[in-house]
């Protein structure tokens, strides 16, 4: 049992009574927000709800509503976060209604979906919320029955006192419990006593999804609402010069067109204030189709943007001046420049031993360079937002991973204080990092304020794909020094990108090699980048794990055995001090995937590759089986072993893992964004190739290491290892190594069908 101090996250336990005097201006659908969706639910709705803390309200009939604090983009936290609350509250999951909380920083910590941190960082606070409410129900029963609280048991929504035989449902004690003081300390369950955590629960929104009910921002409609589209510059490095409103006035359904500016001049941008075109044109009309038609007819003049410098907060929050260079960039010149940088010294990020000396005396040096292009996130739901700005108040309903990071940006843009801006969290049609940058919310707010009416803003797919915030393009050169007996003397990695380096200098294989050197470099660009599922890891893992595969072959060792030997070294006699991984857990997933894939006895006709990586606090190893049939390579099976601590919702966790693997295979084979004269060469799915049903693996197995570690990341860690596992299995299938992503063009040059 763990005793936790509830003071640590006191604001989660605010009650309605405290708020009543607190002068909250915004309405919050706190006690009236339940929307029963089935007949069963309708029958069982209580007459009155009692709020025990920010996460929990209990009905007089024992129904429980649990608020899921974080925005949902498909990782299923709307189910798994409430499961953690319900576990400690000790209720029957069947009696739980889950609701999406709105953005409410006074009540919830970290309403941010990203960095695979939802479950990890919610683990203690959410369970504490459940345990606190349970303790208050116990205290209410003790008071009612006049018996000591310590003699009362609470389980499955029922309170009982063995001595007197008294029993009550949570609903009967809820009204009194809601008036009691919040206990200062509560006890959390032991893992072995979990009943909900670790038992798969279906997606709480499953029925709504399969029946097409409104859940996304784009589905919102109110009386008097107008529709808006944007027109943005045609290329990176361009900006708006002027436009001719008369070119579309008189078109059917068109009401207005005007310039919008996301940033006021004196505004200091935060770390997530990346937007490619802060100044653009908005077109407003009576329907989506009509504004989309007007977009095509609008005459606008664009001009080349000069170098621009502005202050922007870095990852740590400190403001630095950022300069965005002018110019129209090309993929071909990116490649040339990146090749030049490989030859230049980089910034030393980590150095152990004497790598230069080791390379000098090496008998053999293996050197390989890996590259990958920019990638677009391509969420299925394009950027969009509903906004209704009236007077000094604003209601925003939009797809955002990071409401906290955009509320200040909205505030400065429309001149309304943050506390008067209500951001309601729509279910997102995908995120993958893209919606951590939520300037579509700002744009909708500006448009609504300007037209003095509620508005639904939607990007076309072309707008969305050309709006930047991409995964950067990267390059990594690995070198290994071997002695005459094929012992590994030194490893050197030099990696960079446009506009950031992908290096995590303290990760494996750092710590396992006596002489180690990591160097980074970066090149400025006006092509904007942002978080993309496992930032930086999503490239460097592929490079590193492809290189280790080739190195193992050079040395003459089994690729899993070779990695295990390195990890043994890192565990027993680590090099350096800042190694940020636990070697035994890393080895654990390799051993598990070796067992589950029957590594040493693959099926006939399959070609096998392995890869492993640590990121977002979790360890993943994957084996990919490739088959070439009718001259066409495809991934037949994938086996994954994952150590992410306790798994809250196993089937949903497996789903997430399967999706990350499919995502990885798709991007390894096809993912690519390129530029000509600053313009993206692909702006829709006719040119930007996405993985489809036929290319998905026939089978994916996701195996979790069973342990009692606190939960760690899951949405991202299964993604990075896929690239090398695919490359290494393709090597076995074709005899060629794959150094340049995406792999499809090279495979086609080998006369294979892709």
């Amino acid at each position: 049992m763990t005793t936790v101090n509830t003071k640590l996250n006191r604001r989660s336990f605010l009650k309605v009574s405290a708020l009543a005097g607190g002068g909250m201006v915004l309405s919050f659908s706190w006690l009236a927000g339940c929307k029963p969706s089935s007949e069963e639910e309708l029958l069982a709705m209580p007459k009155e709800w009692f709020e025990l803390n920010s996460y929990i309200k209990i009905g007089d009939n024992g129904r429980i509503t649990i608020f899921s604090p974080n925005p949902e983009f498909g990782s299923n936290i709307k189910t798994s976060m409430p499961m953690m609350v319900a576990e400690e509250l000790d209720v029957d999951w069947k009696n739980v209604i889950v609701e999406q909380a709105d953005f409410y920083p006074e009540r919830f910590d970290r309403q941010f979906t990203g960095g695979s941190q939802g479950i990890r960082q919610g683990w203690k606070p959410l369970r504490t919320a459940g345990a606190t409410a349970k303790a208050m129900l116990v205290a209410a029963s003790a008071q009612t029955w006049n018996v000591p609280a310590s003699e009362i048991t609470a389980s499955n929504g029922q309170l009982s006192h063995a001595g007197s035989g008294k029993k009550a449902g949570y609903g009967e004690m809820a009204s009194l419990a809601a008036t009691l003081e919040v206990p200062e300390e509560v006890t959390l369950k032991e893992i072995k006593d979990f009943k909900i955590i670790g038992n798969s629960k279906k997606n709480v929104d499953g029925q709504k999804i399969v029946t097409g009910q409104p859940m996304y921002a784009l589905d919102k409609k109110v009386e008097g609402m107008k529709y808006a589209a944007i027109v943005q510059p045609p290329a990176f490095g361009m900006r708006l010069k002027s436009f001719d409103k008369s070119s579309i006035s008189g078109m059917p359904g068109i009401l207005d067109a005007f310039e919008i500016n996301v940033f006021k001049e004196d505004y200091a941008r935060n770390f997530f204030d990346t937007t490619t075109f802060p100044d653009k044109i908005a077109i407003v009309g009576n329907s989506t189709w009509e504004v989309m038609q007007a977009k095509k007819s609008l005459k606008a003049e664009w001009e080349k943007a000069p170098d621009t410098t502005f202050p922007m907060a870095g990852r740590g929050g400190q403001a630095n001046n950022v300069t965005i260079p002018g110019g129209l960039e090309n993929t071909s010149s990116h490649k040339t420049k990146m090749a030049e940088y490989i030859q230049k010294p980089g910034n030393v990020l980590r150095k152990d031993g004497d790598p230069e000396g080791a390379f000098k005396k090496a008998h053999k040096v293996l050197e390989r360079t890996y590259t990958a292009p920019f990638l677009a996130h391509n969420t299925m739901e394009p950027m969009n937002c509903f906004a209704d700005v009236k007077g000094d108040k604003a209601e925003i309903y939009g797809p955002t991973q990071a409401p906290d990071f955009i509320s200040g940006t909205i505030s400065q843009a429309i001149g309304i204080p943050k506390e008067n801006i209500q951001i309601n969290l729509a279910r997102m049609g995908g995120g993958f990092g893209r919606r951590a940058y939520s300037h579509h919310l700002v744009e909708a707010a500006i448009i609504s304020q300007k037209i003095q009416a509620p508005v639904s803003l939607v990007y076309t797919r072309e707008d969305d794909m050309a709006a930047g915030v991409y995964r950067p393009t990267y390059s990594a050169t690995y070198r290994a020094a071997l002695d005459e007996n094929n012992n590994l003397l030194a490893l050197h990695v030099k990696a960079g990108g446009i506009p950031e380096s992908p290096i995590h200098a303290n990760r494996f294989p750092a710590g396992a090699i006596d002489n180690y050197l990591a160097e980074g470099w970066d090149l400025p660009s006006n092509i904007t980048i942002g978080a993309f599922r496992a930032p930086r890891s999503n490239f460097i893992a592929g490079a590193e794990q492809s290189f280790l595969d080739e190195l193992a072959e050079e040395i003459g060792k089994d690729p899993i055995e070779f990695r295990l030997e390195l990890l043994k070294r890192a565990e027993t006699n680590p090099v350096g001090e800042n190694n940020d991984y636990v070697p035994s857990r890393y080895a654990g997933v390799l051993e598990l995937v070796r067992e589950k894939s029957n590594w040493n006895t693959p099926k006939a006709n399959v070609s096998r590759g392995v890869s492993a990586y640590f990121c977002h606090n979790s360890y993943v190893a994957e084996v990919v089986d490739t088959v070439i049939k009718d001259n066409q390579p495809y991934v037949e099976s994938v086996y994954a072993a994952v150590d992410c601590g306790v798994v809250v919702n196993p089937d949903a966790a497996a789903n997430m893992g399967e999706g990350a693997i499919v995502d990885g295979i798709g991007n390894a084979f096809f993912g690519e964004m390129a530029f000509e004269n600053g313009a993206p060469t692909k702006t829709n799915f006719d040119k930007y190739r996405m993985i489809r049903h036929k290319e998905a693996p026939k089978k994916i197995e996701v195996h979790f290491v069973e342990n009692n570690e606190d939960p760690t990341g899951l949405g991202e860690p299964l993604f990075p290892p896929v690239f090398a596992a695919v490359a290494n299995s393709l090597y076995k299938a074709t005899g060629k190594r794959y150094y340049e992503q995406p792999f499809a063009p090279q495979l086609e040059m080998q006369n294979l069908r892709m």
Partner: protein, 152 residues
């Protein structure tokens, strides 16, 4: 602008729109049926799939003027109580992640099973290949289509 009488999910509905307006936007903006989703606008992703006389079609490329004599079915009308075998199978396999593409996936799957009640793996892959799922739920979709096929 012109007036169109449409038969959608067994109901007769009237809209007054430009003849070129795609059914996607007629449904979403004019009839408040928002289960059909906008993904690409060029019939490449399948998020907007509906049934036209039982066949799966992309509503983003289907002008309203072309459908006046047809029976249209959308995700809202796939079943009365949300219990079409495809919908039940989607729940059983807990298919959706973000959920945005799933209405289109299910409409394609339902049309497939109507014309081919027992599709092979290859037939499922071929029929579903026009529907992109960015979350990568393809293996679950295939399993759900098979389950739905068995439970029709």
């Amino acid at each position: 602008m012109a007036t169109y009488n449409l038969n959608i999910n067994g109901k007769n509905l009237q809209v007054d729109v430009d003849p070129n307006t795609p059914m996607l936007w007629v449904l979403r903006d004019h009839l408040d049926m928002v289960g059909t989703k906008f993904g690409c606008g060029i019939a490449q992703c399948g998020a907007c799939t509906i049934h036209l006389d039982g066949n799966a079609v992309r509503s983003c490329q289907l002008p309203v003027s072309a459908v006046t004599d047809a029976q249209i079915t959308t995700i809202e009308g796939l079943s009365e109580k949300g219990d079409h075998p495809v919908q039940k199978a989607w729940i059983e396999h807990d298919v959706p992640q973000c959920g945005y593409c799933q209405a289109g996936q299910m409409m394609t799957a339902a049309a497939l099973l109507k014309s081919n009640p027992s599709p092979s793996d290859e037939e499922i892959e071929n029929a579903m290949n026009g529907n992109i799922c960015r979350c990568g739920t393809y293996t679950r979709i295939k399993a759900a289509v098979k389950t739905a096929s068995q439970n029709q």
